[in-house]
């Protein structure tokens, strides 16, 4: 049996209904795909952004706030902890490396982050794509997306907590808070990390301290940068990233620095909490997209019942000419499957495009680069929609088989 001539005839006859079915399916698939892919990409890239931050130490306060400030550079007024912590970490065997992170200044809306050259290179994981790492006070490195050129000079301004700065643009507020006479020279650029740090300007922590008149944290008369910080008084810092030597060491450090005027935590544990909250939101989204798919299926079914009602006669004619029931079912199923497949493909493309646009918006807002990819959940969702939709399309025809063919001919 060869149902394709009839399938084509049916699709030709359906025309607008067919277009409506394809569009409905495409929309349902697009919404489901966009939500699923977006949510997963957000989760993955936010976790990836926290990769080099094994253990965070800060002054007691909100862990989430410290995490958002250090990892995602959503800068906020963070209390400082004693600089002496830096000294004890230098002497700690369990610590492979550590880096203070200080923020507060901005230029053209880019946050200026004081840290060490070792952390700027992510503990040696990345090398500058242009120029070199900073090696002395007054030198700066820029993230991949910072709109400055090597050799340019930067005048930092004191940022105001909660002030929204647009990257790449100086505003009046920034102009009013310039730290005159404390310019940085850009000596290098970092490769893209896909995180908000691509929009940061990294300078030696010592420079940040000096700009604010706090000394440089080193023994009097020395001008070195980076650890060890051996000054008599070491200025306070809002956050320290610690790279522990071992997992056991990491837990020991975390519990030690949970007392005595500091807090310590693994960013991963805070993220898990955030993801759990996100997961609830995701549940709502998934429910919404499932409802959406159900509504689409219901409307397709209604369309089909209406259409099959109109086509009852046509299928009765086929039967009257001797077509087996299987032939009629094949004609209906193949036609519907073609429409559903077309809708699913269009929906995949549409959903991918929508997710990309959304990613662009999120990246513009936060600097998090979201790599959209279609995964098994999306394909599973589409597969279920396809199977359920195309099988449901057979029900009206199967129901019509119980009536005599002659009554279909009259209809």
């Amino acid at each position: 049996m060869n149902p394709f001539a009839m399938v084509l005839a049916d699709l030709r006859a359906l025309r607008w209904t067919a277009a409506a079915i394809v569009m409905l399916v495409a929309l349902a698939v697009a919404i489901g795909v966009a939500i699923g892919a977006q949510e997963r990409a957000l989760r993955q890239s936010s976790a990836a952004a926290a990769d080099d931050f094994d253990l965070l130490i800060g002054a007691p306060g909100s862990q989430a706030q410290l995490l958002m400030s250090t990892v995602y550079l959503q800068l906020d007024a963070i209390p400082l902890m004693e600089g002496s912590v830096l000294r004890s970490l230098t002497q700690d065997d369990r610590v492979a490396a550590f880096a203070p992170i200080a923020f507060g200044d901005v230029t053209r809306g880019y946050p200026i982050i004081g840290t060490t050259a070792a952390f700027a290179a992510r503990w040696g994981r990345i090398a500058p794509s242009e120029g070199r790492l900073f090696a002395a006070e007054g030198e700066a490195m820029i993230g991949a997306d910072v709109d400055y050129r090597l050799g340019e000079s930067i005048t930092p301004s004191h940022g105001v907590a909660g002030q929204a700065h647009k990257p790449g643009e100086a505003d009046a507020d920034e102009a009013g808070h310039r730290h005159a006479g404390h310019d940085y020279t850009i000596v290098g650029r970092l490769p893209p990390l896909g995180s908000p740090w691509d929009r940061a300007i990294l300078v030696p922590i010592e420079s940040v301290w000096e700009v604010h008149g706090l000394g440089n944290g080193h023994a009097a008369g020395t001008e070195t940068i980076g650890p060890p910080f051996d000054g008599v008084t070491i200025p306070g810092v809002p956050a320290i990233v610690v790279k522990p030597r071992s997992i056991a060491g990491a837990y020991a450090l975390r519990s030690q620095y949970r007392q005595g005027g500091t807090m310590a935590f693994f960013p991963a544990e805070v993220l898990v909490g955030i993801y759990r909250a996100l997961g609830d939101a995701r549940g709502v989204l998934v429910l919404a997209s499932t409802l959406n798919a159900t509504l689409v299926l219901a409307s397709i079914l209604l369309l089909l019942i209406a259409v099959t009602g109109l086509r009852r006669r046509r299928y009765a004619v086929l039967r009257a000419m001797g077509a087996p029931r299987l032939y009629v079912l094949l004609v209906i199923w193949l036609g519907m499957a073609a429409l559903m497949a077309l809708g699913c493909i269009a929906g995949l493309l549409l959903g991918g495009a929508a997710a990309s646009v959304l990613s662009g918006l999120i990246e513009a807002q936060t600097g998090l680069r979201l790599a959209i990819s279609l995964g098994r959940p999306e394909f599973l969702q589409i597969g279920v929609l396809f199977v359920v939709g195309s099988v449901l399309s057979l029900l009206p025809a199967i129901a019509s088989f119980t009536n005599p063919i002659a009554s279909g001919l009259r209809g």
Binding site: N2, A5, A9, A320, M321, A323, A406
Partner: protein, 239 residues
């Protein structure tokens, strides 16, 4: 049952209806009798004209014979095969192998062209419509006066549609041809021509032909005429 799909597969057999009644439910919910045929035998290869006023059950009788309706009582047999007792799937197969039906409303597929409409039944049982079948379809269409077989039937005049419907019914040389007002949409000249073709096609295949018609010219071509009336059981009239 012959399972061969070759065009000259089924040979005409005697058609026998016995004790057949068909009841419908009217608008007021009360059943009324559409057909009442105590006994009717159509010998193999006979040409029968079925006449009677509108609503007298001509179409219903053709549908009962074709197995499109199962009668309320009684049996319909084709040779040794009791059609009214066959399961639906076997009846589908019997229709495909044995029957050519010219529907009153033609029931063409308007989106398909003339040739595809004529050869459509061949696609029910095989993947490809073989060349010989295509050629025969083209030849029959030509004899029906149909030109340009690539035209979609949706754009044809009623007369042309009627001829496509007849070509489709006789193309596979069925052993039983049922025709419901096959000349109703044609002018006198065409009606005469098409009536002749229908009878010729039946003769050629040795097929039994049953025509429900008001067309006196067509009735004159048929060997026997049956009068069917609403009120009384079917009786045979020899004109």
């Amino acid at each position: 049952m012959p399972a061969s799909h070759s065009p000259d597969r089924a040979t005409a057999k005697a058609l026998r209806l016995s004790g057949v009644t068909l009841d419908h439910r009217g608008g007021d919910g009360r059943p009324f009798r559409v057909l009442d045929i105590p006994d009717l035998t159509v010998p193999s290869g006979a040409h029968i004209g079925l006449r009677g006023p509108s609503g007298s059950g001509k179409t219903s009788l053709l549908h009962v014979i074709a197995g499109l309706i199962v009668p309320s009582t009684g049996t319909v047999s084709w040779g040794e095969t009791e059609l009214s007792a066959l399961p639906a799937a076997s009846r589908d197969r019997w229709r495909l192998e044995t029957l050519g039906f010219v529907f009153q409303d033609f029931h063409l597929i308007p989106e398909l062209d003339i040739l595809a409409n004529i050869t459509l039944p061949a696609s029910f049982s095989s993947w490809r419509v073989v060349r010989s079948e295509q050629e025969r379809a083209a030849a029959i269409a030509a004899r029906m006066g149909l030109v340009d077989l690539r035209r979609r039937t949706g754009v044809l005049s009623r007369g042309e549609q009627q001829r496509v419907a007849i070509a489709r019914a006789v193309c596979r040389r069925p052993a039983l041809i049922l025709a419901d007002e096959p000349t109703a949409s044609l002018d006198a000249a065409h009606a005469d021509e098409v009536g002749a073709l229908l009878v010729d096609a039946a003769n050629e295949a040795g097929a039994t032909l049953i025509c429900a018609t008001h067309d006196a010219a067509l009735l004159a071509r048929l060997e026997r005429r049956l009068d069917i009336e609403t009120t009384s059981p079917l009786r045979e009239l020899v004109a």
